[in-house]
């Protein structure tokens, strides 16, 4: 697993989950904002399934826009959740290109396998809670709490 605990560790991680009283926080890192958004999506799917078991057989493209960059993160994550729910698909690889307040995201994954993917918990939605997108010493960090 790439996932780390909330106390963090010395190694550089692509994403992590963090604690929230009733739900769970997701956080993605990247050299670009797009990479951070993609890694936040990885964190999202790590809450739902064992992403190491999700093969990249199918490719989906999504576009999203929002009034500000933080809301764009929520919009991106919620669009993925809707797509996953409707098409019964889960993802394990993402590429996101951000231009201004719009993004074009590509997600790779496959149909949900209720045994192999070791499902954990459904995510009801990405929230505005502890929502932030910022740059810290050269690394972009994107995060929010998801309602499970």
């Amino acid at each position: 697993m790439i996932e780390t605990g909330a106390n963090g560790s010395e190694t550089i991680n692509r994403f992590e989950t963090f604690e929230h009283e009733a739900d769970i926080g997701i956080r993605g890192f990247g050299k670009t904002m797009g990479e951070a958004f993609g890694n936040t999506a990885l964190a999202l799917y790590s809450v739902m399934v064992n992403i190491n078991e999700v093969k990249q057989r199918e490719k989906k493209t999504l576009v999203a826009s929002a009034p500000d960059i933080e809301l764009l993160l929520v919009e991106w994550l919620n669009s993925l959740l809707s797509l996953s729910d409707i098409e019964r698909i889960v993802f394990s690889k993402f590429e996101v290109a951000i231009e201004g307040l719009s993004l074009r995201g590509t997600a790779w994954g496959e149909s949900l396998d209720r045994v192999r993917h070791e499902p954990k918990v459904e995510v009801k939605g990405a929230t505005y809670h502890m929502l932030s997108v910022k740059r810290e010493s050269g690394t972009y960090v994107a995060q929010c709490v998801v309602d499970v």
Partner: protein
């Protein structure tokens, strides 16, 4: 040693500042007030024991205060004994708004899982009668009631059929053959709320529901077999048809993908409305609009449709449970005890300063708890008050209470909804293994079937507040009075 270390590690990571009881005006042992100050329109009121206050996150106070600023709020911004840090409203938050005083409606006061709720069903059987075939029954329930990530219901609804379901709720479900007409008497608003507007529910939301009708979901949702262990109020228990050792079934689930999508859609549109109407909002999770505005009315119509979806969903699951139960125990007599909803905004008439007012009551992680005499209650409960079903956790007890006159006055007829989490999911997951939790529970006489070991670990009994303490606080605060306690004997988790 290792587990102690894990616990210390986990505890040190919890971003929780505990509330200081001294910072409240203590009205009595079970009511703590945040006096009205600054921009607050009304005071904040937390109904809890000192022990529960001491365990609450400081954020609860902040969120109760934020809600007190909202236009049109009546009497007080309230939090129930199980309150914890939520989105916008605290979970366990209750607030009433008057449309004629510029009152608002807020997505933050309802949440993503619209009308998530609890339904308890009587079986007509006792603990001793059920034990010989308990395992067969539980296996059937586990295999046949769709639950867990990616589960699919047996009923697939086309777009037009979905609209009928959103208008009709449990009434629709019964017309389709899922259940008996008399079930409806034992559901709030007789199985469907008025005001649902399927046109304001997005196509995405409807598509998300296509495969999810009649599914339980995951997380804290469950189906549990329980035995009446203690009776506190003989008369009320009698009216509810409960005796010691009776077996009941409790279902906890909500409006599934459709409700979640309505939440997602309107969080966005109401956040925009906040700017348009220049609402005094400190936290954007309190996404709101005036009730008397197109945005507010659209949300009310969609959210009401979401409530009906949850009622239909629980009705379909009830039907499945009834079929399975009758198959395994042909001698059983399945009948409804009651169905309550947690995450709702409902139009109700309440008395404020001696005047009858039509108010929009938000209950976020709180349940309606109508007192005696209310017309919405079935005849046999009208003298005792509404059954208030309070879920514990897998290993601990749950309670059935009854609404009170006092609750009608103090909290617009509202009470707490469950134990409420005390420990984060991450902490729970680090502390326990799913298999270990199952073994522990089986040793205590609770059979557990789950679709995810991690899910079970996250729902470990000790990760919740002490339900006994929460229920005692609700009882002592006069929000609802204890009728019976039920103990789980089997639990199916999503």
């Amino acid at each position: 040693m290792l587990s102690v270390l894990c616990l210390l590690l986990a505890t040190s990571c919890l971003p929780k500042t505990i509330m200081d009881p001294k910072s409240f005006h203590k009205i009595n042992d079970y009511l703590w007030e945040i006096p009205r100050q600054g921009e607050m329109r009304v005071p904040g009121r937390i109904f809890a024991s000192e022990k529960l206050i001491l365990e609450m996150d400081e954020k609860v106070r902040e969120q109760v205060t934020n809600v007190s600023l909202l236009p049109g709020i009546q009497t007080a911004s309230m939090a129930m004994p199980d309150a914890h840090w939520g989105y916008g409203f605290p979970i366990g938050g209750v607030a009433a708004f008057d449309p004629d005083e510029g009152g608002i409606i807020s997505m933050g006061g309802v949440g993503f899982d619209i009308s998530c709720g609890v339904r308890t069903i009587k079986t007509g059987m006792t603990h001793d009668e059920i034990m010989p075939r308990l395992e067969t029954l539980v296996d059937h329930l586990f295999n046949r009631v769709p639950a867990g990530v990616g589960s699919e219901g047996l009923i697939k609804l086309s777009s037009g059929q979905i609209d009928d379901m959103l208008l009709g709720g449990a009434v629709w479900a019964i017309k389709q053959g899922y259940g008996e007409k008399r079930d409806l008497e034992y559901i709030e608003e007789h199985g469907k709320v008025e005001g649902a507007e399927p046109d304001h529910v997005s196509e995405t939301a409807k598509k998300r529901q296509y495969r999810e009708m009649g599914t339980l979901g995951s997380g804290n949702h469950y189906l549990e077999l329980q035995v009446v262990s203690d009776i506190y109020d003989e008369q009320a228990a009698l009216a509810m048809g409960l005796r010691r050792k009776d077996v009941v079934i409790t279902i906890h689930c909500g409006s599934r993908g459709l409700g979640h999508q309505i939440g997602t859609d309107y969080l966005k549109s109401l956040a925009t409305a906040v700017t348009r109407f220049k609402l005094p909002i400190r936290d954007r999770e309190l996404a709101s609009a005036p009730i008397n505005s197109p945005e507010g009315q659209n949300y009310f119509g969609a959210m009401s449709a979401g409530i009906n979806c949850a009622l239909a969903n629980r009705q379909i699951i009830t039907h499945l449970v009834r079929e399975i139960f009758t198959e395994v125990f042909p001698e059983s007599r399945i009948s409804m005890l009651y169905d309550i909803s947690h995450n709702t905004c409902k139009v109700e008439t309440h008395i404020i300063d001696g005047k009858k007012k039509k108010l929009y009551i938000h209950r976020k992680g709180a349940t309606r708890a109508f007192g005696p005499g209310q017309i919405d209650l079935p005849q046999e409960y009208r003298h005792i008050g509404q059954p208030v079903l309070i879920g514990g956790t897998m290993g601990t007890s749950s309670y059935i209470l009854a609404g009170t006159e006092e609750g009608m006055i103090r909290t617009f007829g509202s009470a707490c909804h469950g134990a409420g989490r005390a420990m984060s999911r991450t902490q729970a997951k680090h502390k326990w293994q799913g298999r270990e939790v199952i073994r522990m529970l089986e040793a205590e006489g609770v059979m557990v079937r789950g679709h995810s070991y991690q899910g079970i670990a996250e729902e470990a009994p000790e990760s919740y507040k002490d339900v006994d303490e929460v229920v005692e606080a609700a009882h002592q605060a006069g929000l609802a009075r204890k009728v019976v306690k039920v103990k789980p004997i089997a639990c199916v988790k999503g």
